[in-house]
Structures are given as structure tokens and as C-alpha cells.
């Protein structure tokens, strides 16, 4: 077992976690919690800065939607799987949700370390087949008229959801908006509220 030459190190780490969970020594949610506690400095805040700028600069939003890779690179966020980004915008008519990153296809520079649920087979299979109920389980209840688009990440393309800017934030600057924008809202499993909640 030589880790330095291991080609499937990601699978090995997943295997370690699942074995320890089965043995009752670990819980996925507790690992999530540890990861969440140190990911903020390196993770979703970058994506939130992109979204906040798009909310406050119409020309930047247009650029982001037409060429996300370049628009994101303009913010200084390059590499680490942000080479081929597509931004999809939530509107009153359409909600976007992203699936299937499995670590290796996740906009890590923008969103930090993926949460465990993002890799669960249940999430990956169900959000495609029944996105409305899965979103409901995340606490996102959408009106029946809202169409849901499910975007399947790949090694070639990763997606950033541009959530809807909540009412009541009209006077806020991009800097003030950043803390409101959660990781989950940029994956599509949460909405943004003016109070900074995740629903």
C-alpha cells in the first residue's frame, strides 16, 4: 500500500471514510462539519464574490453568462478546475441545480470542498429523476410554474449557479452581499435570503 504511487487516491480516501463509518467510528456528517470549519477561507467565498459582482454589475453578469471561464478568471480565480466554467442563472421561471461532481469535477476554487451529500449516489441519481422533491428535502420549495434544469458536471464542464438576488438587498454593495451567498445556493440546493439564511 504505497500512497505515493497510488493512482486512485480519491477512491481510497472515500473507501477509508465509508469503512470507518460502517465500523461506527465516524459519521459522514461529522467529517462534513470538520471540513466546513476550515473550508470557508478557501472556498465558497470566491464563488460568492463572483455572484455578488454579477448582481451589482449588469455588464459583468452578461459576461459571466456568455463566457464564465473568462469572467471568473477576471476575478483572479483560475486553475483548480475552473478552466471550463458555465454559469447558469436562476430566474422567476427557471431554477438550476448541479449534480454529479464526484470531487473530480467540482469548481473547487469557487465553492470549496464538496459536501459529502454531493457525492452520495442517492443525491446524484434522485436529483436528476425527481429534482423537485430532492430540492424540497433541502428546504427549497419552488412554485409549480418554475422549471428546474439539472446540470450534470463532467471533467470538461463545471457549473456555477447564479442564484436570484433576494428582495430587500437593493441598496447593498457587492461586499455586503457576499456573506449572504452560501455554497449551497451556488449549487442550486438553497436560495439566498436577505437575512443570510440558506432557504
Amino acid at each position: 500500500m504505497d500512497w505515493l504511487s497510488l493512482s486512485d487516491v480519491e477512491a481510497r480516501v472515500n473507501a477509508l471514510e465509508s469503512l470507518m463509518v460502517e465500523k461506527g467510528l465516524a459519521e459522514h456528517e461529522a467529517v462534513d462539519a470538520v471540513v466546513a470549519s476550515f473550508e470557508n477561507d478557501m472556498g465558497p467565498v470566491n464563488g460568492a464574490k463572483v455572484v455578488a459582482r454579477a448582481w451589482t454589475e449588469p455588464a459583468y453578469l452578461e459576461w459571466l453568462l456568455s463566457d464564465a471561464t473568462a469572467a471568473i478568471a477576471d476575478m483572479g480565480f483560475t486553475g483548480l478546475q475552473t478552466e471550463h466554467m458555465v454559469a447558469v442563472q436562476n430566474t422567476d421561471e427557471r431554477h438550476n441545480v448541479v449534480v454529479c461532481t464526484l470531487c473530480s469535477c467540482y469548481p473547487w476554487t469557487l465553492l470549496g470542498i464538496p459536501p459529502a451529500w454531493f457525492k452520495y449516489p442517492q443525491y446524484r441519481a434522485r436529483v436528476v429523476k425527481e429534482p423537485r422533491s430532492v430540492l424540497g428535502e433541502f428546504g427549497v420549495t419552488l412554485p409549480d410554474g418554475v422549471k428546474i434544469d439539472v446540470w450534470d458536471s463532467s471533467a470538461e464542464i463545471r457549473y456555477l449557479v447564479v442564484p436570484q438576488r433576494p428582495a430587500g438587498t437593493e441598496g447593498m454593495t457587492a461586499e455586503e452581499l457576499v456573506p449572504l451567498i452560501s455554497r449551497d445556493s451556488m449549487v442550486g440546493t438553497a436560495l439566498v435570503s436577505a437575512s443570510g439564511g440558506t432557504k
Partner: protein
Amino acid sequence: MTAPAVDVTAFDDPDGPGALPRSNGELVFDAPWQGRLFGLVVHLCRSGAFEWDEFKIHLIAAIDESGVDETCDPAVYYRQFGEAFCRLAAEKGFFDAGTLDGRTQLEASRLAHDDHDHEHEH
């Protein structure tokens, strides 16, 4: 999904041979599995599965024996970190190597999207 902050200073030895890779004081990872592995090991230690000092002995040995002490590179460091955890797991009898190999193959096929059976909508 918010979590109380975890003070990782208890799991680091900044001036020692097994110091965590940092940049400007912040932990550095360059792939998600590295953070996940670190999170798992920290969680197991916090929940009492082992003492950090027990792990540290294996970490220092794994780094030393690998002959690669570029521990500022997270891609190398966290492989040594994984090696150290497996040695500790063997010592503690958490699982045997064959079990881990089998599970790794299973996870590898999952990561290769083998278990996808859905129609993509676009």
C-alpha cells in the same frame, strides 16, 4: 449546513516535521480528497478513536521513509498523511488491507460514473 469551528491547532505541529501545508497561515489543499482525508482523521481523533500523538508518530515515520520531505506540497503531504493513517488503522485493527483494497475498487468504479443509470436531461 453550518458547523461550529474546529480548532485545528491541536492537530498541527507547525514547527515539526509533520507540519500541515500552509500558505500565509491558512491550510492549503489542492484537491478535495486532501481536505476530506484531513477532516476524517481529525474527526476520528476528536471522537476518541486514537490520540493525535499516536497518529503523529506514523506521520513522521511515513514522511521520513518516503524520502520525500517536501511537505509544503499538499499533493505529496496528504499521500503521506493517508499512508500514516493506514498504518495507524492496522495497528488499531480498524480494518485489514484486503478490505480496504476491495472497497477502494468499489469506490473507484463509483467515481468512474459506473453506477449512473439515469438519462441526462440536456
